[in-house]
């Protein structure tokens, strides 16, 4: 018999070790090993001049970027990243929550593997048809607007999982 909790625990420990090795903490304690990495000088310098930085960036992201422009860019970047992650991670969370139980739910409702496959394919087919133009529409119609649209549509999809509830309402 497979002990899923045990495997989860072991894999988690492995993951923590690898993630620690990849993190900035490792770089702090063992700086020699990462001397060729260019992304870990976040807190080294205060911004000196922002005028110089713009012209640097215009020239392209050459390796000659100064430490000052790096620091200013790092601040802009971390603000941007924070904003992005809040929204994106909630979206991903709602997607992952459904992942493990979609098949199991359809199975519990009593559908066969073939019927479940048809449902899955319908989802993929719809994402193929809409996906072929929805990205272009978002480029022109505004990506933020389409992210909000995402939340509304996925919420509706969630509610249809209570199939019998819907039947009573209709």
């Amino acid at each position: 018999m497979t002990d899923y909790n045990l495997i989860f625990g072991l894999v988690l420990i492995f993951n923590i070790a690898v993630t620690f090795r990849a993190s900035s903490y490792w770089k702090k304690y063992f700086p020699d090993s990462t001397n060729n990495n260019d992304n870990n000088n976040e807190e080294e310098m205060a911004p000196l001049s922002s005028g110089k930085e713009d012209s640097d960036v215009e020239k392209g992201q050459a390796s000659s970027n100064s430490a000052a422009s790096d620091a200013a860019a790092n601040i802009r970047h971390s603000q941007l990243l924070k904003k992005y992650l809040f929204v994106y991670l909630l979206a991903a969370f709602s997607d992952w929550l459904q992942g493990p139980y979609v098949y199991a739910l359809y199975d519990a409702y009593g559908y066969t593997q073939h019927e479940i496959a048809v449902l899955f394919v319908a989802g993929f087919g719809s994402s193929m048809i809409f996906g072929s133009f929805i990205g272009g529409m978002a480029d022109q119609g505004g990506r933020k607007r389409f992210v909000i649209l995402f939340a509304v549509i996925y919420a509706l999809s969630c509610m249809t999982k209570r199939e019998y509830l819907f039947y009573i309402m209709i």
Binding site: V11, L85, Y101, A108, G135, A138, D139
Partner: protein, 340 residues
């Protein structure tokens, strides 16, 4: 007799409602996989921090993995919280059980929409963000955006290989997403016989996601010494081996471990491919090209699921697709390194 009849009518009606849910879900996932990324790259471009793009992708992937691990465990709890049963005797309205995770998901989506509304600023594809071109931008239809994306893809062998490789990899990933539940259930039933009482799907899923996160960390470590083009060759090779292991072993435990190895490749794949696509695909057509990439992907999924392949045959298919991806990636790597 009477209730049986009712249930048959309900079955047909409820199947079409589940179908509607899947169709809406398909629209939502196509948005999730293209528009968020497009917004991020656009925002990097306007903040002049394009050089940080690789870091952003790996951060987003870290966060995504942590959220996925939590989501698996929370879904497991939510599914075990209440028994799956009709709300009242004879009622068709089910409650609890496997519906629990979907309720939590609904809540998260509401908060997500509100946060996007308050925190984000609007951004557009570069071509239509330009003031002078905004009139033309409105006239340009979505289908011409797709045509532009198509011709750009056909003209560049690098964009084309990127598209084929990501379709092959993500194709096997979606086959895996569908097949892991029946594959592990079948193996567990064989081994446990009558004592089988269902599997902790949330915990299994959560373990996959831990591996995915480990893969993401391995990507960061590998980037100290390698280019993403080189790492991707290894990723596809190992993924092919993982599928070979799933095909060859008969026990639930070793299959599960091999599946975890594949999930580790998934974790390395996303930041590698994200970085490669960031460098190879032109910014103004980005979202359209990414969706173009999804077309062959969906044909792979359509074919493999509708033909009612057994889990074993579909894993053989995945294994061979990973073999092809390895070869194509080796060619792409050779071209890219020649250019530099």
């Amino acid at each position: 007799m009477y209730t049986n009849c009712i249930i048959h009518i309900l079955d047909f009606k409820s199947f079409s409602i589940l179908m509607l849910g899947r169709l809406l879900g398909g629209v939502a996932t196509s948005l999730l996989f293209s528009v968020f990324e497009a917004w991020l790259i656009g925002a990097h471009s306007s903040a002049n921090v394009m050089s940080h793009l690789g870091k952003s992708f790996s951060m987003a992937q870290y966060g995504n993995s942590i959220v996925a691990i939590l989501a698996g465990q929370i879904a497991n709890k939510a599914a075990e919280y209440k028994e799956f049963k009709p709300a009242s005797e004879g009622s068709g309205f089910y409650t609890g059980g496997y519906l629990g995770p979907f309720d939590v998901s609904l809540l998260a989506l509401i908060v997500c929409g509100c946060l996007a509304f308050t925190l984000w600023e609007e951004n557009y594809g570069e071509a239509s963000g330009n003031d002078n071109a905004s009139d033309d931008g409105k006239k340009t239809s979505a289908s011409s955006a797709l045509k532009g994306a198509f011709s750009a893809t056909i003209r560049s062998p690098d964009i084309l290989s990127c598209g084929i490789i990501s379709s092959l990899f993500e194709g096997s990933m979606y086959i895996f997403v569908f097949m892991w539940t029946p594959a592990l259930t079948t193996l567990a039933k064989e081994e446990m016989g009558d004592s089988f009482e269902g599997l902790p799907f949330g915990v299994i899923f959560s373990t996959f996601m831990v591996c995915c996160m480990a893969g993401s960390s391995i990507f960061s470590i590998a980037m100290e010494k390698m280019k993403p083009e080189q790492l991707a060759v290894i990723v596809f090779g190992v993924a092919a081996c993982a599928f070979l292991m799933v095909i060859c072993t008969g026990s639930a435990t070793s299959s599960f471990l091999a599946m975890n190895l594949f999930e580790m490749c998934v974790g390395m794949y996303f930041p590698s491919m994200g970085t490669m696509k960031g460098m190879i695909v032109p910014e103004d057509k980005r979202a359209a090209i990414y969706n173009l990439f999804r077309i062959p992907l969906n044909f792979i999924v359509l074919f493999s699921l509708l033909t009612d392949l057994t889990p074993k045959v579909s894993f053989i298919l995945c294994c061979s697709m990973m073999g092809v991806a390895t070869v194509l990636q080796m060619k792409l790597k050779a071209r890219r390194i020649q250019c530099v």
